[in-house]
Symmetry: C2
Subunit: 267 residues, 2 copies
DNA sequence: CGTATATTTGATATCCTTCAAGGACGGTGG
DNA sequence: CCACCGTCCTTGAAGGATATCAAATATACG
């Protein structure tokens, strides 16, 4: 079903070289060229972060919002007992510090797991989006909620799932998220986490991650070989891990906005 | 330091009978009477929920945003193994389902722990706020981020803190949150959770919650007597639980908005 | 005042951690 | 090209934190 052009607004297909952010928001919504342009120019101020570099520090001021363009980043806290807990993994297209209050100090640290490219976005840009581009603003709000959903699911994992389920659930989550920005295929994906980092993310010791992974391997639920993750039997994996991809669902602009319904929504 | 009235906009002190939402947002920002009015009329459509009533069901459509006005609510998931994990406790002034995508089915259930009064807010209202009241819109975004912060802190608790630390951290969190809406004093507060519910929230068995609580009691870190929570030695409690209230900080409107800086901010 | 619900306590089982050490792998410099 | 070194992965053994099972006591409620 072909959609009509709206007079005065030019809609655009997503360019091949679109940023991960545009790709994400463009999956569900037909963005105007103006919107795409705004999103792309917003990302001009970029920084290259070397693997292992800590670029946000717990307790220090946080002046801008970050947007991961390339590479993997972790956000984490260190407890007084010396344990690190990874709050989340930020992948290309993910914001770090979106909608936070820049008057306060950061409540987490962030480090690049790979060489990474990160856009620095002035807070005023976000406010500008809310003023001028309501559809994009809904998209940002959705990304914030999605971020919450991931945390909620992690809380369920840490609180109510076994080590093997937890890890498998997490590996499946990463698969979907990477696929949504074109970094995974139906075959699998390249993981940039060590077993220690998986442990810090799922509240498990490195040793236990290792044992759980070899069990998952033995039972054909998930396999990691040379950093390449595959799922030999996806449907069994999904059911074993109690994985329901709803919490990662795409943005869709028809969030009750009458004037958007049936207009710019894909499908 | 007295603040000047802005021409054309009447600012208002928060009325004594203000809703918890207005009280929350009004703590850091001087709201105009127009903004206060909008927030209050937004809540006219109310429902009374009986204690124990489940009013959001995992997998069912979610058509409106809820706002707790009175009473305690839990949001949770049940795993296939039959374990319940409470994602979070919603207190007066908290939204449930803010900024979610109403095209999708709910990914959690919600039940009232007490008789509760809940406002039903049409999604279009939220969009209207974003169009007409930028300060309130920032406030809503902040509430969404705050919700994430709470989840992140819970993840840290479940992943990297002992049972006693976890429970104490949670009790302190509730204290601050209740105080922010006038439902707790420096003395303590009335808790509406059973030990089983605390366990489901912190990923612990009821038995272990009981043992940890009696240990906290013995060590003067926290005491629950007839539903009344007190902290005999607050500073020791804070340090034992590694509690840093930054993740619950108030909304402050000067989130990098130049035209708001120094104008409507309290202090 | 009786019944349901919540708390408390004891005994046992298990999942996971910690400690310790060996092995694989990739990179680097001689 | 190979020896060396750091990082990551793997495996074994023992200990600890928490779960489960079971039952007694206390509290709330109609």
């Amino acid at each position: 079903m072909k959609q009509n052009q709206m007079p005065g607004k030019s809609q655009s297909a997503i360019p091949k070289d679109a940023s991960p952010l545009v790709r994400r928001l463009g999956r569900a919504v037909l963005l105007t060229t103006e919107e795409v342009d705004y999103l792309e120019t917003m990302q001009v101020n970029q920084a290259t972060i070397a693997k292992g570099q800590e670029f946000v520090l717990d307790g220090e001021p946080l002046r801008v919002t970050f947007l991961v363009r390339h590479g993997w980043v972790i956000r984490y806290k260190i407890t007084p007992a010396g344990r690190r807990l990874i709050i989340g993994v930020s992948l290309p297209g993910d914001f770090i510090g979106l909608h936070v209050n820049f008057n306060y100090l950061s409540i987490f640290s962030a480090t690049a797991l790979t060489n990474a490219s990160i856009a620095l976005i002035e807070p005023v840009r976000i406010l500008d989006i809310h003023r001028r581009f309501p559809v994009l603003a809904s998209g940002l709000d959705w990304m914030t909620v999605r971020h919450s959903n991931i945390l909620a699911e992690h809380k369920v994992s840490l609180g109510a799932r076994t080590a093997a389920q937890r890890i498998l659930h997490f590996l499946l989550e990463l698969w979907i998220r990477l696929e949504q920005v074109g970094l995974a295929t139906s075959e699998g994906y390249e993981i940039e986490l060590t077993q220690e980092q998986i442990g810090d993310c799922m509240g498990l010791s490195t040793v236990h991650v290792n044992r759980s992974l070899s069990r998952l391997n033995k039972e054909n639920l998930a396999r990691i070989e040379k950093g390449w993750v595959t799922f030999p039997d996806v449907s069994r994996a999904v059911s074993f891990a109690d994985f329901d991809a709803r919490f990662l669902m795409d943005f869709s602009a028809s969030t009750g906005t009458p004037n958007l319904k049936g207009r710019r929504l894909r499908n």
